[in-house]
Symmetry: D2
Subunit: 441 residues, 4 copies
């Protein structure tokens, strides 16, 4: 295993005593403050000899010394990209911790993502514990979101003009790239501003996060739609249910929704390419399955099967720089419908696309807890002066991840890993790559 | 860090080639079979130098060789103790994997826990993929449960009489002790039977499991009741809501339900003793809080505050050997009601006890996935001949844990750990031990 | 309206005596068989001459003329008694209609019920469309509630002092009696104040309302708990589940929750008295059922079986004047447990009491619609100057009911009507009055 | 029945003209104001002489005499058309009542609708209380469904060949037409077969049913999607959410989902035609609304706005004879998107289509009760020999409706009735017909 550079930069020196005091009921059990020696192993799984210099992440939590007097500090919060269950919980947790735990003077809510850090953006408004007290019951983001980057120097000026010294940015990998650049710009200007990222992705595709917040909620919603499709497919002769779920660059929602519903027979993702036609392809497998079981349920990630569109025009991208996709759900419907009609054995096809519904719901219980813990970890990190970093959960522990690691790509399902193995075990689907050597489980 | 003995015993030699075949779509990405060199670090967090002999758990997953021909094998499944969301998902996953993945000849459902392994028990019945196909939609256990141990030699004889060579036992720490004893007895008889435990506890209190299945579901239900109590408390003048939740020996449900609801003001658990009377005690804090906020919500674990019952008669235990508890919920209601009436400022007290409702629901999406993966892991382990072990998830990875580690105690909330720190951060509750030195967060 | 041909054809002659046997506990309440003379009017709404022979309710809706200029009016809203799903929806609907539809100058929220109309109460605050916009997502009442009446002349003075000319009072039958008295007092003072009641009862027991708001929500929650008890009872040998639900003076929640869950075997209500002991009593029936089915689920209304408490001290009442009840749930547990232990066939008893949880949830979709329509109807009525009345839904239509009709008693399940017949049909329970003449269905 | 005093008092004279202005799109459909002559009968049920002047429906319930000995009877059940929440509850209720209440010898489940009454259909299978005991927990129909009619004489022969004397047919208006024809054919053959229809329509559009079963469930699901769209629209600048829901011939789901969510700003249905362009049209209203509120949520029934498709080719119909519709949701997205882009003020448009998800869920509590009561009513009717009829709920009572009334059309929202008035009141939407005379509420 190669060694990673996991050191965390700081924006200012930590020399002011924290106002925090924890007290367990047993004096001997008092919560101690973290030091840089508290670490989480990056690779808890090993299969070779260890060299003794470990690759570790810094562990999150309150430090004994922070960067200055909170009574004169201003903090800022912004949310970028698409919605995700739990955004309001993270905002609430940040405000509660900044105000109640540290007594920070002022917390500003930046409107509509990075756009709120430009002269054209709506002005920020003050966030207080009272005004965020009940926001966790609602989906969405009380601050609003927007896609796309803004000029870094413009944003740095705005941050400094607002007097912000702790900036929290909630967003995906593109957003975290912005955090890295903004943090660098502010350091070049010697502004003494901590910029801390909080990873947000409905697709669970950010690197170095064991699972992103809101994902449990999204999977629960998507799984219910898989069950709906199963009910439809079972209620008619030769019923085929197709569910398209979010997942441009990775198939985590598709895989988890299939497992959570227990009703999927085929899962199609970007990570495991499939052939439509020919022996060993999807249509051939459906023929076989319908013969045996008279129904089939297919869960497809929106990023799957893009190679099946013959003449995709030059790379098209949205405002966030995400590659635009052809609609694989519609393609599947067309191809399957035509194929079985041609065979003289038409199927009854029911297509379901929950779309935005998987991301606009309020967070479920586990996600609420996770969001609260991430938010508290982010505040502790920023108060200790950490910057150009992202808080994360890794192997179940809260850690600091340097942003240069996060922006190197997107997390994908490992097609030879245990998650995908469970999908294959649970659906019974064979290799669909059309490769003759593909053997069935 | 001291070295643990984590070696796994085997009941028979593994020398029969597995019928399993996985095939990823990319030949280079084929799922490889596990070996004993695949390990998960027990302690992913470190804060000292490592000595190079690591303490590790064996990693679960399919092996290249198993213990014999599945076509002539009989497996058995039984569920012990109280209900838990996901029991049916585990049963379903075991049957599906035994039958579909390995082609095991017969799977027997043992009725009502260990009682089904005695001559007086109801006879087992055969479990097939068809009969378990839809059981995940219902709460409970299709096999029935019972509390209490049975004579080990009697059970061993029954297992052998039924021809079972793979026995799966789903239950808590008491049940796992039974698994260890039964496994030992069967080894003494040279019966060649793998006995694999699957950890089940609604209280999340089994050692060496990062979180037990069904717990997410239970927390979601309990959190809703906390919200109900909050609504009641907020709707009257001087409203106090008290919610008692399960948790005899640990306060995990109480802590998580409080965090998931975001509405609790005080969490009381066994792990953090509290004083009722006097300065720094619960009543004094409630006075203060009602003065400031006019309402309060208290979440109490059933095992909390047992020291407050003055003359608890000699240790009473239920059929599973669990210590019987006095009702702390009722005590809190009585004390708080009387205290404020005496003060001339009576409160309006609303008491809620969801009781069995947190454990009889069907599993939520994440729990379903977890149960399926645990079940598959258990089958792979048993097929490889592992015995006297429990499958588990540790740092997010599926592993084999020897039972002598599991039966050494019960898992508790670490009062100086990060979970309890988050509870203190989220509720703002002070140290309630009555110790004058207790300082508020 | 032209006459429709509503005759029904028959396929064969009916001359075989039905095998059905219903038996209410009171011979005079036996469910009678229908004949062709039992008919329902196709057109319940009429608009012919006012003084014809029909007993009718005035239909609600906007009138062409109202009592004055809304631009100078003040309205007031208050909520009394216990919580109920939908209270916030009614408040929201009232404010939206008063402000948006009529342009009323000011709407005052009275705090904590009638207590807010006394000099000791908290002062009212202004309600605007903005401040009520999102309250429907939360359970409870944003205004707070309290039990108990206040001096009518004091309240009348306060209403006049606040300049309120349209007062909306949401509450149960006791509250509506207050509306009638307050309305009379204000008319005696020639104050020109419309006082309009909106019926609220979690128990569905107000006269002349076809179903009260929040009841669908409450039933859904209670039914889930019945299912929980069923799951528990089915998971052990000789399992008995007992669920106590709200319903002091009527058993509507018990009956509906039993039907909605489809899992109840016995429903016990005030309206159908039952014997505990002896042939034809509850214990005897349970013996029989456990012999046949090995489990039983009992749903009991809190007001049922009060005659079984031998020495109930003199009539005790709460602040609202409701009779206090002995805990029938606990009595059932004790009696059943002792009885079967004495028989040498102990049962495993699981007791569930959802308590306040059935009333603190946000309203479900149908209740939201109902609340909105009731609120709009109440505003239209008050603007037209109606007073001493209650808005209601009757046969599916929104109407005005004079309060002297409402305060004459409480609505109960008719033991010879079709709802109770469906309960008997669905549970298969016999007459449990212990009357030897009681025959089983 | 004695006459009640139902007069309503007034607190002041009504002589000020109301500020309310409603405007339907068709001047003839304007919502009219109520007068005191608008009344609802207090007692919709009567049992006086049969031949009086009233138009009445026969009331359902058990009769003292039935058509023969149940011990030798065979009954049949079939489900037609699309899925609907509650289908399994109806099937369960029929089987339970036939077997437990009447002791009918055999109940046959006909497969896949009317197709199961043809020689090519799958053979029926026997339904017992055991096999239907748990089906109410699942959505769909355990019997399967199909669209389309079959030859009446073929079906009649099959009914007679199977020895069925009580046939229950669950389906929509097309299906009920089949019931009428099949019933007539069987009467012509003097077969002595009762054919009883049970109304099923996800769109709530069958005549003479006060609300169809499953509708509460469907509305709850659709309302959640409206809330999702609202959350999306509120989270961006100039956000527009569009939700398309089922409702080919009537807009009941759209209207109810809008009211249940409380978040819709515009409801579009077939019954209230709207103009897209021009003053008073939808686009003009959206411009105004976005200027004021920066977001808008539109709920559209699939049957709305079909006149906007310029060249709809000759009437296309599906297998059930339902007219095929152009996709109004897609048209709205295209038009709105283009319009605001052309104006230089592009909107962020989020489109949601829950599709089949509103109909494949298990029934909610109220729908379960309704289904059970309908099923029992149908059995009582058939046992009494009724035929060519449909059971129904009317004004809250269960009745028998002759089929010639049911097949005369489809139920629609009355644009001058109180439901649509509530939609206008709740959304604040103006008349969108483009008619200059249209005034805003």
């Amino acid at each position: 295993m190669s060694k990673l550079d996991t050191r965390i930069e700081t924006s200012a020196e930590s020399n002011f005593p924290t106002p925090l005091k924890y007290a367990g009921c047993d004096p001997s059990a008092a919560i101690r403050y973290r030091t840089e020696a508290d670490r989480i192993r990056v690779f808890p799984s090993i299969s070779t000899e260890l060299d003794d210099a470990e690759t570790v992440f810094e562990r999150s939590g309150p430090r004994a010394f922070i960067t200055g007097d909170p009574a004169v500090m201003t903090a800022g919060i912004l949310t970028c990209g698409g919605l995700c269950p739990g955004l309001n919980d993270v905002i609430r947790g940040l405000v509660m911790s900044l105000c109640h735990h540290y007594g920070v003077k002022k917390v500003l809510g930046i409107r509509y993502g990075y756009a709120g850090l430009t002269p054209d953006g709506l002005p920020p408004f003050e966030l207080t514990p009272d005004c965020v007290d009940e926001i966790h019951r609602d989906g969405g983001s009380m601050l609003g979101v927007s896609r796309g980057a803004q000029e870094v120097s413009v944003m740095a000026e705005q941050v400094m003009a607002l007097g912000i010294s702790k900036l929290f940015v909630i967003g995906g990998d593109g957003t975290q790239r912005g955090v890295m650049e903004l943090s660098g710009e502010l350091q070049r200007r010697d502004a003494g501003v901590s910029v801390v990222g909080i990873p947000k992705t409905i697709d669970n595709d950010i690197l170095w996060v064991d699972q992103s917040f809101g994902f449990d909620t999204a999977v629960d919603i998507a799984a219910r739609v898989v069950t709906d499709a199963h009910v439809e497919a079972r209620s008619t002769e030769r019923g085929v249910g197709i569910i398209k779920v979010m997942g441009r660059d990775s198939g985590f929602i598709a895989a988890h929704a299939a497992l959570a519903s227990q009703e999927a027979n085929v899962v199609l993702t970007l990570e495991s390419p499939f052939a439509m036609e020919g022996p060993g392809g999807l249509l051939a497998y459906l023929e076989e399955r319908l013969e045996q079981k008279d129904h089939a349920v297919i869960v497809v990630a929106e990023g799957a099967g893009q190679d099946l569109f013959q003449s995709l025009e030059a790379d098209q991208r949205d405002a966030s720089g995400n590659k635009l996709h052809r609609d694989i759900g519609v393609l599947l419907c067309d191809k399957i419908s035509a194929h079985f009609t041609d065979l003289g054995k038409p199927v009854k096809l029911k297509y379901l696309d929950p779309g935005y519904s998987v991301r606009s719901a309020p967070a479920c219980g586990t996600d609420r807890i996770y969001c609260t813990r991430l938010a508290h970890a982010a505040v502790h990190a920023a108060m200790a002066g950490k910057t150009a970093m992202m808080v994360s959960r890794w192997s179940g522990h809260y850690v600091h991840v340097p942003l240069h690691l996060v922006t190197q790509g997107r997390r994908k399902i490992n097609p030879s890993g245990s998650l995908w193995r469970t999908v294959l075990e649970a659906t019974g689907q064979p290799c669909l790559s059309g490769d003759k050597s593909g053997t069935k489980v």
